[in-house]
């Protein structure tokens, strides 16, 4: 089976959007779920959130940031190319209910998974306030899309090149201190950002949900590699999650487990850059 890349767009430096032909996955996909892909026979299985899907046209949208070997390799592929494996939808779908006012917080590449949720919350009649942030204006993705599915959109950049000068967490705090009653916060982004949001919302009595991104292999509950500590209990993020209540998450453990293969990942990246051009397989 091969999964064709039918469209590719660059959203920001090193951030790409791809539509992948996978009709069965598209037909079953729901916000909050993810896929696992493998580029080729030698490839690693990497998880990416389902950023969007089109049931009629039979494709799934992924948005990824070039980090290491696999995402860089993926970044070099173009429309017409094929992926060897594309399995999903995996994980539990987000519980999207009508509850009132929902604040959706997306940091960096985390804006991608937040987008289909914002749309879904809005569609069933919630008031959606979105807060998106990035290092700078250039790195900010999906601003128009987020705008179109939000009642209110707030932007933060670390360097102040757009919107609030500072972190998304500042805006979360401002909202919490304001008059508006907030019924739920969903925050997705780098673990450090989610941990900070969790810290900010903790003193307030507002349900806060985060989406965890531990290292995964199968994504079906078979390997136990994605285990996270939730309220003192071990859970598998791929089947019990990836979304959990922020206040229960042991972020330190998550972050330390994410660093497990740092050396190997650097080696793989170095190896893949060894002067024989991009097609090199000799490492």
């Amino acid at each position: 089976m091969a999964y064709k890349i039918i469209e590719k767009l660059q959203l920001a430096p090193n951030v790409h959007l791809m539509n992948i032909e996978a009709p069965d996955v598209a037909a079953a996909a729901k916000p909050g779920q993810f896929i696992i892909l493998r580029i080729d026979e030698e490839g690693e299985r990497i998880p990416l959130t389902i950023a969007d899907y089109d049931v009629d046209k039979g494709f799934v949208t992924i948005i990824f940031q070039e980090m290491g070997k696999t995402t860089k390799q993926l970044g070099k592929m173009s429309s017409g190319d094929e992926l060897q494996d594309f399995v999903g939808p995996l994980g539990k779908a987000s519980e999207i209910e009508k509850i009132g006012t929902v604040v959706l917080v997306g940091g960096g590449i985390g804006i991608a998974p937040v987008y289909p949720q914002a749309r879904a919350y809005r569609e069933i009649g919630n008031k959606v306030i979105s807060i998106i942030g990035a290092r700078n204006e250039e790195m900010l993705i999906l601003e128009d899309e987020m705008n179109s599915v939000s009642d209110e959109l707030l932007v933060a950049t670390d360097d102040g090149s757009k919107g609030h000068h500072g972190f998304v967490t500042d805006l979360v705090k401002q909202l919490l201190d304001g008059d508006e009653k907030i019924d739920r916060i969903v925050a997705i982004g780098p673990p450090i950002m989610m941990r900070t949001v969790a810290g900010v919302t903790d003193p307030y009595d507002v349900e806060t949900i985060v989406s965890l991104n531990p290292i995964m292999v199968d994504g079906t509950g078979m390997c136990g590699g994605c285990r996270v500590n939730i309220g003192g209990e071990t859970k598998f993020a791929c089947v019990d999650g990836p979304e959990f209540n922020a206040k229960d998450v042991d972020f330190n453990l998550l972050m330390s487990r994410l660093s497990l293969y740092r050396k190997e990942e650097m080696d793989a990246l170095e190896g893949s850059k060894k002067g024989c051009g991009d097609e090199c397989k000799c490492q």
Binding site: E44, R45, V217, D218, G221, C223, G224, V239, E265
Partner: protein
């Protein structure tokens, strides 16, 4: 009385540095000599011990005359995965245990003879199979471990249109992701899968039932369904330090090594931690495989920590012997109580406690009891938990009415039918972690049941 032919093997000091097969297989001469020892008993005990009732004296008789083609045909009448079974079946507890020769001398090496015939056929090129006229009925097979593959092949041979769904990117179940290359070369599993595809079965990999489609949907689309989803969910002990960096489930460790080829990193992209002191907790085949894989990845010392004694080790004897020859340390009558934390949440040793054997428990094995005050620390930077698995529940998502036990195994009747009409199940998903051949036996039984059901 003549004794059994020894199997040529890679010497231990060589094989611990590679992932190639340990046992090399009989030569033709050895195969015939071994076959000639068989008495071709009128009431062959060996067959009673075989879960799929291979006509053992029948195939051995052909071998005596060097008619290996005929021999494999006899085996394949009841066993579609002979190259696999010849390698991994616990023969010493099944056919060989009951062989009459075992009373006075050594039993016939039935497994090795089976392996020889299968390998011989593969080298010569497998004959195209005979398939019945199409019946127009559609059957879905969920999971492609030995149970699913066996059911698929029997149903395809009967002329049904068979579709196999597999969650991973390759078919074979534990045979592909769990059992290491040095015990079961993946090329063999792939050929067995190819054979089933030649029979006309369709294979859809990357297809998780319960996610992409529910069981309810499959029931609507197909005339019958077989669930062979295995027992893939790893168990942990719930002790302190179990989530530290460097603690693996055997499933993750073995999947990285086998399915993802991490032993060939960075040629293959999937990494694995190569420890210097590795501790494997457990005493079954899974533990042996994990330990021997860790050794081949370059660990200085690998030990098995098992709470009972040598006699109770549940792994196949041959594999225990192989592990010992390779220098795996056996820390028996010991149990981990805590994993110690080093820098950056990594593993820095395991605290174990000594055990003694007390009264027998329900399983008839003597119950291990901790010896108070006997805690001691064993050096370790990698810990692999091989203490068992339970059925994977994803399949139940979006299915109404499939009856399961409190342990998560699927309930079936003697015919292999679940509480849902037209839905059969078998293998580890029904029994909990068991053996390749029992999974195959269940696949066969289910195929028979589905056949009967479809011809009603």
């Amino acid at each position: 009385m003549s004794i059994t032919q020894e199997m040529p093997e890679q010497p231990a000091e060589v094989r611990i540095h590679n992932f190639e097969e340990v046992a090399l297989g009989y030569t033709e001469e050895q195969a015939i000599l071994e076959a000639e020892r068989c008495l071709e008993c009128k009431k062959p005990k060996c067959v009673e011990g075989c879960p799929v009732n291979i006509d053992i004296p029948g195939f051995i008789s052909s071998m005596k005359e060097g008619k290996f083609g005929e021999a494999i045909d006899v085996i394949k009448r009841t066993n579609t995965l002979p190259a696999v079974c010849g390698r991994v079946c616990p023969q010493e507890e099944q056919c060989e245990q009951l062989c009459i020769l075992g009373k006075k001398s050594e039993p016939i090496s039935i497994g090795r003879l089976e392996r020889f015939c299968a390998d011989r056929e593969r080298e010569a090129g497998v004959k195209d199979p005979v398939v019945a006229e199409p019946t127009g009925k559609k059957v879905a097979i969920v999971g492609t471990g030995p149970a699913g593959l066996t059911a698929a092949s029997d149903l395809a041979k009967a002329g049904h249109s068979v579709t196999m769904f597999e969650a991973l990117h390759e078919a074979g179940g534990v045979l592909i992701y769990g059992i290491p290359e040095f015990r079961l070369p993946k090329a063999i599993v792939k050929e067995e899968v190819e054979y089933i595809i030649k029979l006309g079965a369709e294979l859809k990999v990357d297809y998780v039932i319960g996610r992409i489609k529910t069981l309810d949907q499959l029931e609507d689309e197909f005339d019958a369904v077989f669930l062979g989803t295995g027992a893939g969910l790893p168990k942990f002990m719930g002790i302190e330090g179990e989530n530290l960096n460097g603690v693996y489930s055997a499933n993750e460790f073995l999947t990285r090594v086998n399915l993802m080829k991490a032993y060939r990193f960075p040629e293959y992209d999937t990494p694995i931690k190569r420890g210097s002191n590795v501790i494997v907790v457990g005493g079954g085949n899974v533990a042996m495989d994990a330990a021997r894989s860790a050794l081949r990845l370059g660990a200085d010392e690998v030990s098995i920590v098992y709470r009972r004694s040598d006699d109770e080790l549940p792994a196949r004897r041959e594999e225990i012997e192989h592990a010992k020859e390779e220098g795996i340390v056996f820390r028996l009558l010991a149990n981990p109580v805590r994993i110690l934390e080093g820098e950056n949440m990594t593993v820095n040793g395991v605290e174990c406690i000594k055990m003694e054997l007390g009264e027998p428990d329900d399983s008839g094995r003597r119950r291990p009891v901790a010896v108070e005050g006997s805690e001691h620390v064993v050096d370790a930077d990698i810990v692999i938990m091989a203490i068992g698995t339970s059925p994977n529940p994803i399949i139940f998502d979006g299915s109404k009415g499939l009856e399961v036990t409190p342990w998560g195994t699927i309930v079936v009747n003697e015919a292999g039918m679940t509480s849902l009409e037209g839905v059969c199940a078998g293998g580890d998903a029904v029994t909990g972690a068991a053996t390749v051949i029992s999974a195959m036996g269940a696949g066969k039984q289910a195929a028979q049941t589905i056949n009967d059901y479809l011809s009603k």
